[in-house]
């Protein structure tokens, strides 16, 4: 018992050192492993130290074997589990094409009408925003009749992508705000997701899911979930300390605090996150056309490949219009939420 107690105490006191030693050991392992397996391994270590050449030019044998591990690991992974990804692929495609089927079947004036109605109520009956969004929606089809169906296809991919982002991003953001450890873990992951070039995960995505909309959705998720998580986290942490203290003094439980105070107060920030998420998803849809995703991005790519500047521009503008529609609706809804809160506060006074 004493020994265990001592051990625990020892571990607690020196846990940082143990971690550092462990990391250092991994680094040494990588060095030795890279050297041992290098094709350019010198005959002996002495011949390396004998000359200064290796100090001036980065030596070819000083090369971590991440590439080999990734290639081998991915190869055996896809052999063993590739079939399961087909199931996920079919499921997500079913969702997208079900949604698209409904959108495409609906008469286009009706779709524009619905968009106008949504904007009208989301913007708190602002006539200016509603008119603007209505005209933008009309012009997507007006630019080129082919674009209407393609825009709906892009929209259905976006909806599924954003739905996935919200169902993972908002709980993720909440967890980040409530626990420092979770935040410390997620921050570097989010940095990675936001900066790593899309093609690094698009190509493996193709091999796992096949060409088309599903790797695009995975890419949208990786690329667009970080702003939503960050802004949810920020919104919750920005809630006034005094409000939380007041809630504590009334004996509010943790979940009461979350759903009654923190989330409602953070809602404008979360809406901003959803808005950013939508914009980034839309930009990813265009990149995803390079892996055979149908939609408006497809038209831009075709215009570029045929050196048809006019066609590429038309398609580009229609994407901007689609972005404007999404942006104004989500922005306006966020603003409405904020002003309503303001009204309530004024009413209380």
């Amino acid at each position: 018992m004493v020994l265990i107690k001592f051990m625990v105490k020892f571990l607690k006191k020196y846990s940082n050192y143990i971690l550092y030693t462990f990391l250092f050991a991994i680094f040494i392992f990588l060095l030795v492993n890279g050297y041992q397996n290098s094709r350019y391994k010198p005959d002996s270590l002495m011949s390396v130290l004998g000359s200064t050449d290796w100090l001036l030019n980065w030596p070819k044998w000083l090369d971590v074997r991440l590439m080999h591990w990734t290639n081998d690991g991915f190869g055996s992974f896809i052999k063993a589990y590739g079939k399961y990804f087909d199931v996920v692929n079919d499921f997500l495609l079913g969702l997208i094409y079900g949604l698209k089927g409904i959108l495409v079947l609906a008469p286009w004036p009706m779709v524009i009408g619905i968009v106008i109605a949504i904007t009208f109520f989301a913007s708190g009956r602002s006539l200016y925003t509603t008119t603007f969004v209505g005209i933008a929606t009309f012009f997507i089809g007006f630019l080129n009749p082919v674009f209407w169906d393609k825009a709906l296809e892009t929209t259905s991919i976006l909806f599924i992508g954003i739905f996935l982002c919200m169902s993972a991003g908002i709980p993720g953001g909440i967890a980040m705000a409530r626990n420092k450890r979770v935040r410390n873990f997620f921050l570097p992951v989010l940095d990675l997701a936001q900066t790593i070039p899309a093609f690094c995960y698009l190509i493996p995505g193709i091999m796992l899911f096949g060409l088309g909309a599903v790797p695009a959705i995975i890419a949208i998720f990786i690329y667009a979930v970080p702003p939503l998580m960050r802004l949810t986290d920020l919104g919750i942490r920005l809630v006034d300390e005094e409000v939380i203290e007041a809630a504590d003094s009334f004996g509010a439980s943790s979940s009461q605090k979350l759903f009654g105070i923190q989330l409602p107060l953070a809602l404008p920030n979360i809406m901003q996150g959803i808005n950013q998420c939508t914009m980034m998803a839309l930009s990813m849809v265009v990149i995803a056309s390079m892996i055979g995703t149908r939609g408006l991005g497809d038209e831009v790519l075709l215009g570029l490949q045929q050196l048809n500047i006019g066609r590429a521009l038309e398609a580009g503008i229609s994407i901007v219009l689609l972005a404007i529609v999404f942006d104004r609706i989500t922005q306006a809804y966020g603003a409405t939420l904020q002003s309503r809160r303001g009204d309530r506060e004024i009413n209380k006074k």
Partner: protein
């Protein structure tokens, strides 16, 4: 001590001198039996050209005692240098593509077409070998079967099969579109645009990794073709008239959209033979070496295999290693050189 030191220096000097004289003597010996001299070889910036350059230069160096200087570049500068008599030998020339520039120099007699290096660069429709064997798929007509189409199910268009096609915007995409209509494949298959050629490669590699059936347009010689086993589907034979009629339809579709299609004719892509080229002056001065260059031909499957080896992400990327692998594991090169030369090369391996 000093005496000993002097002795050591003396021994060292003598031995170094001895080595030098030995080396220079042996060099002279080689030069006296062979007056090949320096061969200026041109190489291009794509994989198959690199492999041919590596193999032929290895044979010229070890078998004929030449010194080979390889100059690497893109098509225009390398061909210009060759026309200008700055490069003696090119072991891969896409003759049909550059025929307008090549012909005048060939007629002037400075350079000549030294025969075929790879008999066929193919463009065709392919099906993975497992599925082809199981359902006895040999020609495009065999594909016109709802049960077969169901194997290549396109999840984005339920009820249709998916034929991975060329990249939209490339001429071959439209050619494939016309071919599908002419062959009656369009009732069963979509003409699926993969977006980019990298995405098409990934889709094929992914299907093979998972063991899924795949029906695709593809071309050789390519590294991917050496890694996967696909069967070329037979199409009506190439005739100048049919190809001309089809090209007219293709051009009008490219100009006015798919509605411009009119029924005409469709046939297979013509296999394009890749050739070699030599300076007439050099060939006249080096009969033995030029005989080897003239005889140098590798079959398309072999080139695909070598490309697969050369482009392997983990072990490839080394021209000379690929050349050595070919010379030690394949025997088709032995008929291109006299027996004594073949012996020298085998010894050098």
């Amino acid at each position: 001590m000093i005496i000993k030191f002097k002795k050591i220096i003396a021994v060292l000097t003598i031995s170094i001198l001895a080595i030098f004289t030995f080396v220079s003597c042996s060099e002279k010996q080689v030069a006296s039996t062979d007056d090949c001299g320096t061969v200026r070889m041109g190489d291009f910036d794509w994989d198959s050209a690199n492999i041919h350059a590596a193999i032929s230069s290895f044979i010229l160096e070890k078998g004929y005692g030449c010194t080979v200087e390889i100059t690497k570049g893109s098509t225009t500068p390398i061909m210009a240098a060759h026309y200008d008599k700055q490069l003696d030998v090119l072991v891969e020339v896409w003759y049909d593509n550059i025929i307008d520039n090549y012909k005048p120099h060939e007629e002037a007699g400075t350079i000549f077409n030294a025969g075929i290096n790879t008999p066929a660069s193919e463009q065709a429709f392919w099906v993975d070998a497992t599925t082809a064997a199981k359902y006895n798929l040999k020609s495009v007509d065999d594909m016109k079967n709802p049960e077969v189409a169901a194997l290549f199910n396109d999840p984005e268009n339920p009820g249709m099969g998916r034929m991975y096609s060329c990249i939209s915007g490339w001429t071959c995409y439209t050619i494939n579109l016309v071919k599908q209509k002419e062959y009656g494949l369009d009732e069963f298959y979509t003409n699926y645009d993969p977006g980019t050629s990298g995405a098409l490669d990934a889709a094929i590699a992914g299907a093979f990794a998972k063991g899924n059936p795949i029906f695709t347009y593809y071309w050789t010689p390519t590294g991917l073709m050496g890694k996967v086993d696909m069967v070329r589907l037979a199409e009506p034979a190439w005739t100048e008239k049919c190809w001309g009629d089809m090209s007219a339809v293709v051009e009008s579709i490219k100009a006015d959209g798919p509605d411009a299609y009119v029924a005409s004719c469709a046939c297979e892509y013509r296999d394009m033979a890749l050739t070699k080229s030599m300076l007439t002056e050099w060939a006249d001065a080096h009969p033995a070496e030029s005989d080897f260059i003239k005889a140098y031909t590798l079959s398309t499957p072999t080139v695909n295999k070598l490309l697969a080896e050369y482009t392997d992400p983990n072990t490839g990327g080394d021209m000379e290693a690929t050349a050595r692998m070919f010379l030690s594991e394949y025997s088709e090169w032995k008929s291109m050189v006299p027996a004594d030369v073949a012996k020298k090369i085998s010894a050098a391996l």
